[in-house]
């Protein structure tokens, strides 16, 4: 009797374990498959000229340099606006804001902001930055639009990282004659920094890969030169990929996949930096 009971339990255990392993594999397979497929299809296009050259012959030949530079500038511009603002807002929400209705409403708004479809941000950016503020179709408008989209990600991950720092550190620092700001700057912020940086990179990574928000605000179909000022429009990798995949007839397939591969490396590279920072900080953490 007892023996049968034990056997049954072991069987259930094994079955459950196998099922969970299978589910995990199922989630990984599409990711690995996509990456391998894009590498296989895109690798033949890789050459010095493809990375550093300008598109030629209606984009059917040459390289994607202006799109790479454009995406780099847009990501940088997004970082300039969204990182200081996002971290400051997170510090306010985690360290200063009283726990009342207004604060809860702000938090709810931030969470909802993260759920808005990116094309809606694009339209909003067109209305506010391009037309109303007269920044035109420019890197400035596009970066600001991407910033608004990125802010909720940065604010919520940074706030979470700050809240994860033990409350007792704050109490001790205050009891040793620290002001609130000294406590934040010397104890809370350094401990939360790896988590904040991870959130920032993940937010920027999303911005780097987005098409819809820059579609109406700053992305150019084709430009024969690199942008010179924030008020210039720019080519960008995701939009360029969209263009060469749908808008240009008789497009060589390896250029499409080559572009996708470069974008993937850009985004996965950022992701890997974030993972590296996080795992190194975890190993060093003293609480």
């Amino acid at each position: 009797m007892n023996n049968i009971f034990t056997k049954n339990r072991e069987l259930t255990e094994k079955l459950g374990f196998s099922l969970l392993t299978l589910m995990t594999l199922l989630t990984i397979i599409p990711i690995i498959g996509t990456v391998i497929y894009i590498i296989a299809q895109g690798a033949p296009a890789m050459s010095w000229e493809f990375i550093t050259g300008f598109p030629r012959d209606g984009m059917r030949e040459g390289g994607i340099w202006p799109a790479i530079i454009g995406t780099f500038y847009l990501t940088l511009g997004t970082a300039i606006f969204s990182v200081p603002l996002g971290i400051a807002a997170a510090i306010y929400l985690s360290e200063y804001a009283a726990d009342n209705r207004a604060t809860r409403l702000i938090r709810l708004a931030i969470i909802n902001l993260a759920g808005i479809p990116s094309v809606v941000y694009g339209l909003f950016g067109l209305g506010l930055f391009v037309l109303f503020l007269k920044f035109g179709t420019s890197m400035l408008s596009a970066s600001l639009t991407l910033s608004i989209m990125t802010l909720p990600v940065i604010i919520s991950t940074a706030e979470e990282a700050l809240r994860a720092v033990p409350q007792s550190f704050r109490t001790v620092s205050i009891s040793l004659g620290g002001t609130r700001w000294q406590t934040i700057r010397r104890t809370v912020l350094p401990e939360a920094l790896p988590g904040i940086i991870t959130g920032v990179i993940l937010g920027l990574e999303r911005a780097a890969g987005e098409t819809a928000p820059i579609l109406f605000t700053g992305a150019a179909f084709f430009l024969p030169r690199l942008p010179h000022s924030p008020f210039d429009a720019t080519m960008a990798l995701p939009y360029h990929l969209f263009v060469i995949s749908t808008q240009v007839p008789e497009m060589p397939i390896q250029i499409q996949y080559g572009t996708a591969l470069v974008l993937l490396v850009f985004v996965l590279g950022m992701n890997m930096i974030a993972t590296f920072i996080r795992s190194r900080a975890r190993a060093k953490r003293q609480w």
Partner: protein, 252 residues
């Protein structure tokens, strides 16, 4: 005997209705150990946290009365609380070392106060570690992470950390509650040395510890001060029946 702290009619209420203080008046002498003891929820910790205004961080509904430290009312809203906290150091029940080196923990308060001179740092590190009876154990590894110390060492580091600021008053909130008997006796022995220079106010973690360490003892019950006298009197010949019942172990 000089009174370092004079508490007059202190009444305190938290907004969630927990532990409160009810019309407490108490004179705390300098250069002695005064213990605040009694069952949990009696108001001992609340009183401690009034003395360095750490209660400012809590949800306090109302405070009235006066706490005079060297004649100055520290409940005055215009008081410089930062200066007060440098003058009134605190050690908590659970040792909380900051995520720095041993040295970094000790110099933290000085750095906050704007003291940058390395000679002053080194002097404070050695002096405070010796006072907290930790110097012998850690002097050759001051730059190791503080978290690597044992629990008892961490608590003595926390004591040394508040001593590094050269305060006048040391508040200790059940500092040995998580420690083994050997570490506990090290902390208690350190306290005997400390009261030569400082005013020590201790919330002990047991009646036995209260009896061992007290020069003066105040018995708290449900937010009220029941009896306050010299330690010898409280623990051998208490005047109040409830004090006697508690120290003899009839309740608590």
């Amino acid at each position: 005997m000089k009174n370092k702290i004079i508490i007059e009619n202190l009444t305190l209420q938290y907004s969630d209705g927990t532990e409160s203080l009810n019309d407490i008046s108490l004179d705390i002498p300098a250069n002695a150990t005064t213990v605040l003891f009694g069952p949990a929820g009696g108001g001992k910790s609340s009183l401690l946290r009034c003395l360095n205004r750490l209660n400012d961080l809590a949800d306090v509904e109302s405070v009235s009365g006066k706490i005079l430290l060297d004649g100055e009312n520290i409940l005055d809203p215009k008081l410089d609380v930062i200066a007060l906290r440098r003058k009134v150091g605190m050690v908590f029940a659970r040792p909380v070392v900051l995520p720095f080196s041993i040295r970094g923990n000790l110099t933290y308060g000085l750095e906050l106060a704007g003291e940058k001179r390395k000679s002053r740092h080194d002097e404070a590190v050695e002096r405070s570690l010796k006072l907290a009876a930790l110097w012998e154990e850690v002097h050759d590894r001051l730059d190791d992470p503080a978290i690597a110390l044992s629990g008892g060492q961490q608590q003595r580091l926390c004591l040394a950390r508040s001593l590094a600021l050269e305060p006048d008053v040391i508040l200790l909130d059940e500092p040995t509650s998580g420690l083994d008997p050997i570490s506990t006796s090290k902390v208690e022995n350190a306290l005997i040395e400390l009261k030569k220079q400082y005013t020590v106010i201790l919330v002990p973690h047991s009646v036995q510890q209260a009896a061992r360490t007290s020069d003066y003892a105040a018995f708290f019950l449900q937010g009220k001060l029941v009896e306050y006298a010299s330690g010898t009197e409280i623990f051998t010949n208490p005047k109040n029946q409830r004090t006697e019942d508690y120290v003899t172990g009839r309740f608590g």
